[in-house]
Every structure is written in structure tokens, then in C-alpha cells.
Amino acid sequence: MDAGAERVAEGDAVSVAMGRAYEIVIGIETHVELGTLSKMFCGCSARWFGMPPNTLVCPVCLGLPGALPVPNRRAIELAMTAGLALHCEVPEHTKFDRKNYMYPDLPKGYQISQYDLPLNVKGWLEIPADGGGTKRVGIIRAHLEEDTGKLLHGQGYSLVDFNRSGVPLLEIVSAPDMSSVTEALAYAEALREIVIHAGVSEFRLEEGAARFDTNVSIRFREGGEVRWPPQSEIKNLNSLRAVEQAATFEAQRLWDDWHAGGEIRSRRAKITVGWSPETGRTFLQRRKEEAEDYRYFPEPDLVALAPSRETVATIRSSLPEMPSERRARLASQHGLSDYDARILVSDPALAALFEDAVGLGADPKVTANWIGGETLRLLRERSVRAAEIPFTAAQLAQLVGLITTREISATIAKDVFAEMWASRTDPAAIVEEKGLRQVSDEGALGAVVDQVLAAQAKAATDYRGGNKRALEALFGAVMGRTKGKADPRVVRRLLTEKLG
């Protein structure tokens, strides 16, 4: 869809940023697969990732002669859910259209999509603005279509896998409202959060189940005039990093090209470019003059849709809390920092884990720290999704309880956490079984401190002579002798008392 592009036209209000040579204008078209069990127009499973090629296919998604599409009602609901979560309007009349082009991964020779009457229009989402505060990015439209198959290229041949063919895809077209690469990334992140929170899609960029087309143009003053040449559309970016690098590169390239008197000076319409992560450069795919004419027309195999106002109202009222609202609530309700709230809300599974644990009495700040710290670290290290965290909120709450009542030390808590992750055992049972309870008894610890001071008389002398760092060596030795179970605060106090 070029709708995002059309907005970048002459006549719009222009405010070229001061202090920068040029202003970047970015609009993003996001393709995201919807989390349905079956495909958009047939009963085949939509969970194609990792499946053997061409095992999830039927006459419909193979485009065999005579096959007809039957719309997946769940996909339509999810698409409306996403639209409503993005503050879109759901028009009373919407329909499917055929987008005609031939390519081996498109079995019918046309893609069923939506052209002039999309399912969702005129929405917005909020992002942190560059200059501080927040800003709204317009959503021009969000429409349903079917995904294509995948080509696998060999030496002198190509193979087609149709498992992905017909998987429901939502295309979300933003207005060209982002004025920096940072804002573009903030938009992508905000969109990802909303889509995941709305329960519409898992937004798996790493599986190619979500992709970005990024429209980049530059706007600047030259000789008293504002210049805003047509944009470059960077196709098929499959990570936030690719969006960042490609948009940064292309903006600078356009600027350099302008000064080199290059192609951009005569550009009449947008061009389409690809991104090569290997070279870190964009490359020309086609100019507008060569653009395909998709010859859209209404899909005669499907009847037009008229989403009832009741359905829209029902979906709207059952929308889960959106990330920005949830962040604000968590911050105010539990006194969390904006940073902590942002981390928790980055995935609804993390937020749920937090709220459930806190609901069981766990300290909010400590809980947030353990989710944002060790939990995230292990998730990343082991490439596990938050929804698949192996321990329960109750177990986390128990662990946090052991920490806040100082029954175990922070060092021991890390080991208990790792064990809880690995064996799904309750932390209290782990502590009990392994005898990891923190020792705070001053008598017992005083004895250990005395032993250490006797064994490391030189360090004690150094400390008394003014080398404050010698205390750390003594502290470490006490902790070592107690296998980390000693209450560090008691140890420190005893050491300074006895040395003083």
C-alpha cells in the first residue's frame, strides 16, 4: 500500500527543524501475521514456522483451479481488535479486493487484500517524542490480506514452500509522522506492544511473521525554499535494527545524493529500495515509472462485509488494557519507575507475572527488579519467550518474600532463582533442602569474623593504617567462609566494629 506515501505530498505544513541540515520524515507500513489457528481463507494450520515444506496446504492455499476462499471469521475479529486498540474507526462497509501480480510464491496470481474500503481507518498511537513528552502518530489504515508462500533459492533453481501461503496478515499503515529514526523505532516498539497486548499477534519478527516497509524522505531549506523530494520506500525490514540502520543510511544517502546532483533531484515519485544488511546499504528495486499496476478490483468470490455496530462495540469493550495505560497504572499503583514500568509492559506475560506476584504480597520494587533483571537475562540468554517462563507467579512471590525478610542473601537468591527456573521447584523448598538460609546471628558471625581477622592480620593492619579497601578483602573472606549465607549488612557492621 502506498497510502502512507501519498501523504508525503507538497502542500503539507512544513517546519524544517532548526540546527539540523535536514529533517527526516518517516512513515512505516507494518505487516504482521495474526495469531489465528487456521489460515485466512482455508482450514489449513497457520502455524507454519518450522514445519516441513508444503505440508500445510490444500487446494485453496495452493491456488488450484476451482478452489474458492472462505473468510476466517476469527482473523476478521482479530484485525478489528487490532484496529480498535490503535484507536481506528471500523467503517460500516468493507470488502476484499484482488491485487494482481504474478510471482511464484503467489499461487493464484493475485493476492486477496483490501483496497479502497479497509477494515480499519483513521487511528493513532502515542510514542515518546524526541523533544520530550509524547506525540501521536497517525494510523491511516489497517487492512487484512493473505501472506504469500516462501521462495528458497538454490544454485540455478528456486523452490516454493506454500505453508505460509494464505496466513492472515494485517497491514498497518502509519502516517509519515515520525521525524527521526529514534521516533521510528519508538513507533515500531509501541505498535509491537499494542498488537501483543491486544492478543492479536505474537509479532515474531525473528520468524518473519512481522515485517516493516519504511518510507524515508528528507526535508530541508535551500536558497530560502523548502525542499521535500519524494521518498524512498525500504522494503521488507525484518528487525528493529534493520529499520534503524536502513532508515539512517537512506536519509544520509538522499542528502548526499542531493548535493552530488544525483537521481533524487529529478525524482518525481517515490522509489522502492531494498536493504542489504551485509553491505549496510540500500539498493534500487524499482522506480515509480516501472511500478506494477496491481489492477485492484473487488474479490467476486467473497461477499462484502458489514461489521455490525454491536460487534464493534463488543470488541471495543473487551479490549484489554493498552500498554500506555498499563504503564501509568503500574507506576502510580506500585510506585515503580518509568523504566521498570516500561520493561514490565514490554510483554503482557511479564506484566501479568508482576501483577500476580504482587497480588500474592510480594514487594513491587523487588519483584520488578527480579523480572527486569535475572528473568529477562535468562529469557534472552535462552531465547525463551516471556509466555514460556517456567516458574509461576507464586514461586516468584515466594522468592521475593525470602529476600525481603532477609532469609536469603542476594547472592544466594540468584542461585535459588536459577534452580527454580531449571527444576520448577518452590524457592522455599530449595532453600530448605540446601540449607541456604541467611545467617544473621551476631554470635555465630562474630566468631567467623574473629577467625578471619586472626588469619588475615596483615589486611587488618592495612585497614587500620588507612587502606579502606582492605575491608573488602576481609568482607569477602567472611562471606566465603559462610558460603555466601551470611547477612552482609551484619558482617560489615561487625567488621568495622571489631577493627575500629
Binding site: 483451479p65 476451482g66 472462505v70 494482481n100 499461487p107 493464484k108 489492477r295 478490483f297 468470490d301 461477499v303
Partner: protein, 484 residues
């Protein structure tokens, strides 16, 4: 090797054990194999005998299904599991569908015995069967003439008495016109009555499957088996079950029949007009009141049709790219492979329509052609609806001419397209229509078309059956058969 009988005759013979489904199938297979009209593209002998065997077992077990054991012919644009399906085109070379069309499944369920696949204009694009990649079919009334099209082979298989009924598809007249030109009953149901699932798509908003038969009742029996919602076709309508034969005996007394004046245009052959006017008088004498009505947009129908139909076809035929099935002519690169495959696989008329359709949908022309055509389409529908508020059915000629000579119109596509002027408005509006024999002109059959309102097939059958009962045109047989 007598002619195939009607459904009712055969059903009672089967129950009386005076014949068997296997015997009927063997006879039909023998007739199909001996067919001199190039009506058949494939005789599925083993397949048919297996079906017939199963039908005999069902009949022995007391199955009352009227179509059980009845031999029929399938237009080769309707997909049949494990039986090669060509759509009359080289592009589908070697394609054996892994699934059957819903209509075939429904007839299988009734126990009907498909004998084979019949000739047609390539992708149903034509009115004479001359656009078949496998040669023209010949009209049994005069083998030098066309049987009409696009379902020419199916019409011939019934007209020549080879099978009891056949299925065709009707996009602009492709059942009714060959029905008329071969002197049999040809019926197109309301759009949305019959599933299109598994039927090779030509023009999706116009295509509809329907029967050819010798008798109106047989057409109604077949429709009874075909009609109904299909979850695999989103354009089929959920309607309450009804007995399509309930009004066959009712007669037309008291019915209001409209005669649209725009259907008696210049260009209609005098012999055709004479036969149709006589038929209308016959209906009047049976007690129907005849009323002249007007459908002013009839003139525009041909233009509308030749925008919408090629536009849809241009998209529907994009899947024939040599990648997954059918013909593939390898080229040095992808685009060249596409070009060579499609260049070799499609015939001239198919290419002509894809070019027309692609043009009509192109940026800059879409509004002037496609959008405008859809607006006129709405007008045409509204005109029909207004007329059906006043009359129960319309009676018109099916085709402006009798069967013409093979080759007579091939070089003049426009002349060929005019064959369908009386039938295609019915597809544009999505209405049901039937053609029944109403006499001869120059010794060749003339068809009377009856058109009814949406989902009023029972009314259609009522008028057709009344006319059939009162006349003996349907008993006429091609002289070529009478001689032999």
C-alpha cells in the same frame, strides 16, 4: 444401444430390475465411445463402472434416490478427483485434480454415474465450442453446424441420447444457448444457488453450474441434488430446502408472463422469432396473461458483460503459470517461462479476453470501464426487479439464431458475442433462466427462454413444464439420429 431414457424411466426400470446401473453405464460408455460429434474429451470407463457397481448395490439395498445409477456427462471445466480435467485448454495439460467439485460430490452422493468429461470452448470462452483446444463439437442435427457453446459437448451428449443428463456451466448463456441449438432443456440457476467450488473459474460473479436434460422434470431433479449452501463457496446462499418439482403440474393458468420488447431486436432470425412468438401464444392459450414489458438497459448488457467477464477472467487465469501444475514451457528466466508457458498454453480467444480484461482494470481505465460497468450492472438488476414486481416470469428467445455453420463466425468475434445477447443479461443480474425446445426453424431447433425472479426456479420449471406438456417439440430428434 438405445438412447438414454429420462430419469424417471430409468429409475423405475432399475427398481423393476429390468436393467442395472452397470448395464446403463456400459451402454452409455459404448455410445460415448462411438460418438461422432467430438462431444467427449474423456470417457472414464473404469471410474464409471465402479460408480455403477456401487449404485446397483445401493438400489438393491432399497436406496430411493432418483439419480442413483443414472448416467451423466460432466463438462470438462468441472473438476473431478482422479479424472483429468482440461477446461478445454492445453494449459492444464496433464492436470488431475486432487479433489472433486462440490457439484460432482453431490451427484456422487446421489449415486449418479459420471460417464466422462465433455468438450467445451477453452475455459468456457465461446458460444460455438469452436474455441476448444481439442477441436469443435458437432451438432447432431447437422454435423456441419456448431452445437453452441461453451458447454457444447454436454449439450450434444444429451441431445444425441448418449446420457440422460449433463452438467454445464453458464456464464453468459453457455448452458441455455447450446441447449437451444441442440433442441434440449438447458437451465442456469440463480447465482448463489449452486456451489462453484471445484469448478475452474472463468468469470466468478457470473459463473453458475446447471443441467442439460431431455425433460424439464429431469432438470428439476438434478437441480434438487445440486442446490444448497456449500461452506466452501462463500457466495452460496443459505435457503430453506424446497421441492423444486412442486409446481411442475400446476400449469400456467393465471400466471403473468412478460415479453420484453428489447428481446425482439433487429438481427433476430425470422424463423426464430416465429417459433418463439408461437410459443408465447401457446402459453397464452393455456391461460397465462401475456404482457409486453421493457428492459431499457438490455442494449448495454453486452458491453457490461464484455468488461466484467474478461476482467474477472484475467485474474482467474493468472494462476496458470507453469509453476505448480499443467503445461510448463521452460525459458531462460522466470518471466520468459511465464510467457512461453502461457503463449503456448492458451488459445486466441482466451488471450483476447485476458488482454481485454487487463486493459479494463488498468490504472486510468478502471473507472471508465470496470466501475461504470458495475454501475450499469446495478441498473440492469433494478430493471429486472421492477419487471418482476409485475410479472411472474419473462419469456424470450434464447438465441437470436439457430445453429450456424462451423467456421461461419470464427473470424468475427463481435458477431459471435451477439449470440449471447438474450442470455447474458440474466447472468449480469444473477437470475435463473431456462431454455426449452419450442420448434424448428429451417429444420433446426429453436429455444424458448424463461427467466424468473431470484431463487424462483420452481416458477421457471412450472412454466417450462406446462409448455412441454402442451407441445411435442421436446420429442423431436435430430434427423441424423432418426436415419440411423
Amino acid at each position: 444401444m438405445a438412447e438414454a431414457g429420462t430419469v424417471r424411466e430409468l429409475a423405475s426400470a432399475l427398481r423393476a430390475r429390468s436393467t442395472s446401473a452397470v448395464e446403463l453405464a456400459r451402454d452409455a460408455i459404448a455410445r460415448a465411445k462411438a460418438d461422432p460429434y467430438n462431444a467427449w474429451l474423456l470417457v472414464a470407463e473404469e471410474h464409471a463402472l465402479a460408480l455403477a457397481q456401487a449404485a446397483d448395490e445401493r438400489i438393491a439395498a432399497g436406496d430411493p434416490a432418483l439419480l442413483c445409477g443414472i448416467p451423466w456427462a460432466c463438462k470438462d471445466i468441472i473438476g473431478t478427483k482422479d479424472v483429468e480435467t482440461t477446461a478445454g485448454s492445453r494449459i492444464l495439460d496433464g492436470y488431475v485434480p486432487p479433489y472433486s467439485a462440490t457439484v460432482v460430490e453431490r451427484l456422487d452422493r446421489e449415486g449418479a454415474v459420471m460417464i466422462g468429461k465433455t468438450n467445451l470452448d477453452e475455459f468456457a470462452m465461446g458460444s460455438s465450442n469452436e474455441n476448444s483446444a481439442f477441436g469443435p463439437a458437432h451438432n447432431p442435427w447437422d454435423p456441419a453446424r456448431v452445437p453452441g457453446g461453451s458447454s457444447g459437448g454436454s449439450a450434444v451428449s444429451v441431445a444425441a441420447g448418449e446420457v440422460t443428463f449433463a452438467l454445464g456451466t453458464d456464464t453468459g448463456g453457455s448452458i441455455r444457448q447450446p441447449g437451444a441449438l441442440t433442441g434440449i432443456v438447458g437451465m442456469k440457476p440463480t447465482y448463489g444457488r449452486v456451489s462453484r467450488y471445484g469448478v475452474v473459474a472463468f468469470a466468478s460473479s457470473l459463473d453458475q453450474v446447471g443441467p442439460f436434460a431431455r425433460a424439464v422434470e429431469d432438470a428439476a431433479i438434478v437441480c434438487q441434488a445440486l442446490f444448497g449452501l456449500d461452506p466452501s463457496d462463500a457466495t452460496t446462499m443459505p435457503l430453506p430446502a424446497e421441492d423444486l418439482r412442486r409446481d411442475l403440474e400446476r400449469g400456467v393458468k393465471g400466471m403473468r408472463l412478460g415479453v420484453p420488447k428489447e428481446y425482439f431486436i433487429r438481427g433476430i432470425e425470422p424463423g426464430v422469432e416465429r417459433a418463439v412468438r408461437a410459443a408465447i401464444r401457446d402459453l397464452e392459450s393455456q391461460g397465462a396473461s401475456i404482457e409486453e414489458v421493457s428492459l431499457p438497459s438490455t442494449d448495454s448488457a453486452l458491453g457490461v458483460y464484455y468488461i466484467i467477464q474478461p476482467a474477472e477472467a484475467s485474474a482467474n487465469l493468472a494462476r496458470y503459470d507453469g509453476v505448480r501444475f499443467g503445461l510448463r514451457v521452460e525459458g531462460p528466466d522466470l518471466v520468459e517461462t511465464y510467457k512461453r508457458t502461457r503463449g503456448a498454453g492458451f488459445g486466441a480467444e482466451v488471450k483476447r479476453r485476458m488482454i481485454l480484461g487487463t486493459y479494463a482494470l488498468s490504472t486510468g481505465y478502471y473507472d471508465a470501464y470496470y466501475v461504470k460497468a458495475q454501475k450499469v450492472r446495478t441498473l440492469i438488476k433494478e430493471e429486472f426487479e421492477r419487471v418482476f414486481a409485475k410479472v411472474d416470469a419473462l419469456v424470450t428467445p434464447t438465441s437470436p439464431s439457430i445453429a450456424f455453420g462451423i467456421g461461419a463466425k470464427v473470424n468475427d468475434p463481435l458477431q459471435m458475442y451477439l449470440n449471447d445477447v438474450f442470455t447474458l443479461p440474466v447472468n449480469i443480474a444473477g437470475l435463473p433462466g431456462i431454455s426449452i425446445p419450442c420448434g424448428l426453424s429451417e429444420g433446426l431447433p429453436v429455444g424458448l427462454q424463461v427467466i424468473a425472479g431470484y431463487f424462483q426456479e420452481a416458477t421457471l420449471f412450472r412454466v417450462a413444464a406446462a409448455y412441454e406438456r402442451a407441445t411435442d417439440h421436446h420429442t423431436l430428434r435430430p434427423s441424423t439420429l432418426r436415419k440411423s
